[in-house]
Structures are given as C-alpha cells and as structure tokens.
Symmetry: C2
Subunit: 338 residues, 2 copies
C-alpha cells in the first residue's frame, strides 16, 4: 500500500506474476481498494488471496516509529504473515526504511548482524556489481559497514556464484589517505579480514566491474542508486535528442533500434525487480516507490526463486559460520571498542 502508485501497480504486477509464473500471492492492504484494483484484471484461476491491513506507512513517515506505532500497517502485517508461515517472502514498494524496520522488528536479525542492508545489483561492463547498503542505514558506524561487507561477500559467493568475490569500500579516492572518518576506520578493519578486500574504490568502479561487491552507508548508496537511474535515463534522452537533429541519423536510429532496446533492457532497473534485504530471518525484496508493473512482477519472480532455492537458509548458515570467523580475524569488536 505504500508505493507511489499503490495499489494499482502492485496489484497488476502480482496478477502478471501469478498468471505467467503460477506464483501464489497474498495481497496485503485495504481489501476494498485491492478488490477494486483486482476487478480491472482477469484473475480467473489465479492463486491470489487478500489479507486486510487498515494502516499504511507513507513515504513521509519516520520509518521505525511508524512501524512500531502502526501495528496494522500493510508492511508490518505482511511480515507477520511470513513469520506465521502464511507467506514465504515479502515484496514491498513502500517506504524502504519502513520495510527494513518492519522486517527487523517482526522477523529479527540474523546472528551477528546489527543492521540489515538493502543490496542492489548494478549492471556493469563485465557483469554485475552488488552495492550495499542502498537505503535505510543513513548514519552508520564502522562496525555496520564491516557487517555489510561480509554479507555482501557471502551473498556474491553463494547467490551470485562468484568464486572469490572482490570487495571494495566506496570512497573519494583509492589511496588510504582518502575517505572520511567512517571509511578510514572501516578500511583499517577490513584489511585484517581474510576475504578478497581490495581497499577503497571510487564511484566509477561500480560500472567498470573491477569489484563484485561495493560497500557504503545507506545515504551514499541511495544517492548512487538514484543518480545511476537518473543518469542512464538522461543519457538515453540526450542521445535521442541528438539523433532527432538530422534525417540521416534518424534513419540510422531505425537500423540500430534493436541495439537501443537491448541496451535499455540492460540498464532498466525494472529488469532487476527489487533489491534483497540482507540480514533478517526471512526473504524480503525491496522495490522502488515508483516501480512499474514489470519491476513488481520481476521482484515477485526473484523472491519466489530465492525461496525455492533456499537461498536465505543457505545465506543464514554461511553468515553464521563465516561471519564469526571473519569477525574474529578482523578483531572487529576490539578495533571498534579501541
């Protein structure tokens, strides 16, 4: 109920996912409005249930307060369904901070994790890069970034299938002397951890594919995420404007149309659906507030896949063993305390 175009886009995305992939869906929210939206589609034979929730956490609400206060908000009720076994995953296009807070509040965190992180996959020249956190954790301590790094490394290895993931810390320069207070302390802790930590990386490294995992706080990560979408869009528009300037280049565009649409598919965030919320006891996908139908559908498909493959279970196990190992190696608690 909390997305920018809720619930029409969410309902349509769910209908498409149910129709095309046979995924059973429970829509959580104001059932009267949900029924109205469902009435616009042919839902015959689809496995779609409605579950009432009387409240909504808005984009303007302060996340964790709202989740605690609004006991009957759609996002909180959705996580309750997961907790009670009535659902296997939560997909939300509402306030991402609230989705994180609700997931944490209802499902609890994985052992060793202080703060869950939203992990977004970016397309690059060589493949894909996982960036975390891209929202939620706006004011972080070094220990949080260290935990994000470990979660990202485990995720890249066990879910993205990267044999030895290279992990970088986002900064304003590659040299150890660069960075701010937060990154400098995080950098020195990560250097003592045995995975493939390559040190600071810069903004450009997200897209050239030199690392598999990029770690940053949620404020910076969110700026990165929205900037990337905005820029990819702007670049496409600017290029089209240029092409429209002459008949010849318009003709050329007709011939290259397929290439343009393939490219668009590659950078379109909707293709990636949502971003997994790592560090909680359950599967949750966080979508953009402004998600379109395709993005919602893809997030549902991804979440379904995630559950069927037992990804979160495997991730939790790996995190528990490897996290403990990494944290001991890095003498993290001591470093932070010191």
């Amino acid at each position: 109920m909390g997305g920018d175009n809720a619930p029409s886009v969410e309902v349509e995305g769910a209908v498409v996912a149910a129709r095309e992939f046979g995924i059973p869906i429970t829509l959580v929210g104001d059932t009267e409005r949900l029924r109205q939206e469902l009435g616009k589609h042919n839902v015959q034979g689809l496995d779609i249930l409605l579950h009432h929730a009387s409240e909504v956490v808005g984009m303007h609400d302060a996340a964790s307060d709202a989740v605690r206060r609004k006991k009957d908000s759609s996002v909180r009720v959705a996580f309750e369904l997961l907790k009670n076994g009535a659902a296997d995953a939560v997909v939300s296009a509402g306030n991402s901070g609230a989705t994180m807070a609700a997931g944490m509040f209802v499902l609890k965190r994985l052992k060793g994790i202080d703060r869950p992180a939203i992990a977004q996959i970016f397309p690059t020249l060589r493949g894909k890069t996982l960036v975390l956190d891209v929202g939620g954790n706006v004011d972080c301590k070094p220990i949080h970034l260290v935990q994000f790094a470990i979660m990202g490394e485990v995720y890249a290895r066990h879910v993205m299938g990267v044999e030895q993931p290279r992990v970088g810390l986002l900064s304003n320069g590659e040299e150890d002397s660069k960075g701010n207070e937060l990154t400098r302390e995080t950098n020195s802790i990560l250097k003592n951890i045995s995975f493939d930590y390559i040190g600071y990386v810069e903004g450009r490294d997200i897209f050239n594919g030199v690392v598999d995992v990029v770690v940053c706080d949620g404020f910076v990560g969110n700026v990165v995420l929205k900037l990337s979408e905005g820029l990819a869009e702007a670049v496409g528009k600017m290029l089209k404007d240029e092409i429209k300037q002459s008949f010849l280049s318009k003709l050329g565009y007709l011939f290259s149309r397929k290439a343009f649409s393939n490219f668009k598919k590659k950078v379109d965030y909707a293709e990636y659906g949502g971003a997994p919320l790592l560090g909680i006891n359950g599967v949750a996908m966080i979508c953009h507030g402004g998600s379109n139908v395709k993005a919602i559908k893809n997030a549902i498909v991804f979440a379904n896949d995630y559950v069927r493959k037992g990804v979160n279970q495997r991730l939790a196990e790996k995190l528990e063993t490897e996290f403990t190992m990494y944290m001991q190696q890095g003498n993290v608690r001591e470093s932070v305390a010191g």
Copy 2:
C-alpha cells in the same frame, strides 16, 4: 606536477591554450622535466614561462599536512605566484584536497567562509547544474553545507546567469524525514534563508535539471562526480557493444555517428575543463588527476575568462554582502550553536 600524467599532459594543454588563445602561461614545477616536455612541442612565439618548484604533493599525501610540510611544492608555489601578482589564476590537476588546502593556506578564505568548496558543473536535460562540494571537505558540519549553498547560489546567479537559482540539498529522499544527521540539521537552517531553497533533492535530480545548485559534502559529491563519469562512459560502451552485434545496427550507427559524437561532447568532462574552487581570495581551477590535454586547455581558457571578466571580484563582493544577509536571516550561528 601532481596529476596522474604530469607533467606531459599539463604542458601540452598549456601549449595548446597559449597557441590557440594567446594566454600567457607560467609552468610551475621541476624545470628540467618541464623543459624536456616543452621540447616536444613547437613553442615559438608562445608566452610560456617556467618557474621552479622542487617538491610535489602526490595523490597519496594527506592534503593539508603535505601543503604545510612541502613549502616548495608546485601547487603551493603556484599559489604564491598568484599572491605576489605574478599570476592571475592557478590551474591544477594534482591532489584536489592539496590544491584546496594550498589555496586556503596561501590566499586565505573569503570573509564568512570556513571552508572553500569545489564546484562542478554537470550537463543536464535542461541545461546545467552546479554541484558543490565535489571533493576536499569529506567530513562536514551543517554550517559548511550552508556556506556551500550560499556560494553556489551566488555563483549560479552572477556567473552562470541564472536569474533566481533553485538550490537543493542532496539526500536519500525528498521528504524532510529523510536524510542523515548532517542533512537534517542543514535542511532546517536552509529553510530560514530567503533564497529559492527547494529542500531535499535526490541523485536523479542532478541530471533532470529541476535545480540549478545541488549541495552536498565533499565525500558524497566526489562519489557523485566519479560515478557520473564512469556511468556515462559505461553507457556509451554498452550501447556500442550492442550496436556491434548486427550488420544492420552497425550500418545505422554510421548514419548516426554525428549524433553520437555530439552527445559525447555534451557529457565529456574534458569539455568543462576544471571546477572552480569557491571561497578563496583568488581564481583557481581544479582539474581531474586523469585530465587529458583538452581538459587542461579548457580549464586554462575558463580560468582566463574568469579573470578577465572579474568574476571572482564580483563573487567576493556579492558573497560578502549577501552572505552576511543570508546568515543573519537563517540565524545560522545560533542554530548551529543550539
């Protein structure tokens, strides 16, 4: 001497600027190496002087320490020349933090400014957006961001010619409840200032042109800058890869070539040369470490223009009167103290 490809690119850029625009240049650095580089070019009739400086601040050096320690570093000596009237502007592709520190140390700051800022112009769908700070000030207090906002507003009005510049504060969401500790306090101060402050903006807003000035700390701004360059480059490459997939689209590309090159010109950072350093008593342009010849040339041309038009003088006057006015309106000192 401090750029990634120094001094060959710097010398060639200076030679081109001197040849094409008749701009008098003083090259500051190891004169033996500079003479060697100059020997590769036809410099007959060009107004190029050499000034020796025995030390270099490297990219790995901690900026302000290095500037204080290395009294005979090229960047510091260059600012001394400006101070003594032997030069009108400094152009540097070295360590940007060191350039800022040297400018501040040698020339001093404008009245009311605690920290100078590097202001970068970004191309957008509608025109241009000024983003500051894009480097140097990695750990900021609200008062610094407020000063950046005022400098940016005055610069947009008096240099970029925007009648009533719209100023936004970069955040992870538009709502006042979003942001981190730094932006939330800055946001509440800026709301009390009488210029056109529109509140929080997001990463995507830099390129859609809804604001003329975007304010952020130097850590975030630097990530934004390098991400934008990297992404624009990656997008171009991805599109070319797609086009190469078929004969037809390759043919189409031939017809659209001009549009592609116009587009490339629009997003190529080298066209913008460098970024002005705002808030010091003098003109300085900061270029990328990896600048090419065109970028260096354009930065020199821009700096020359800037000096001839008396921009910095006007900016200093405007800043002095308007800064005081704005600061009083916002009750800034009190807000910060409280």
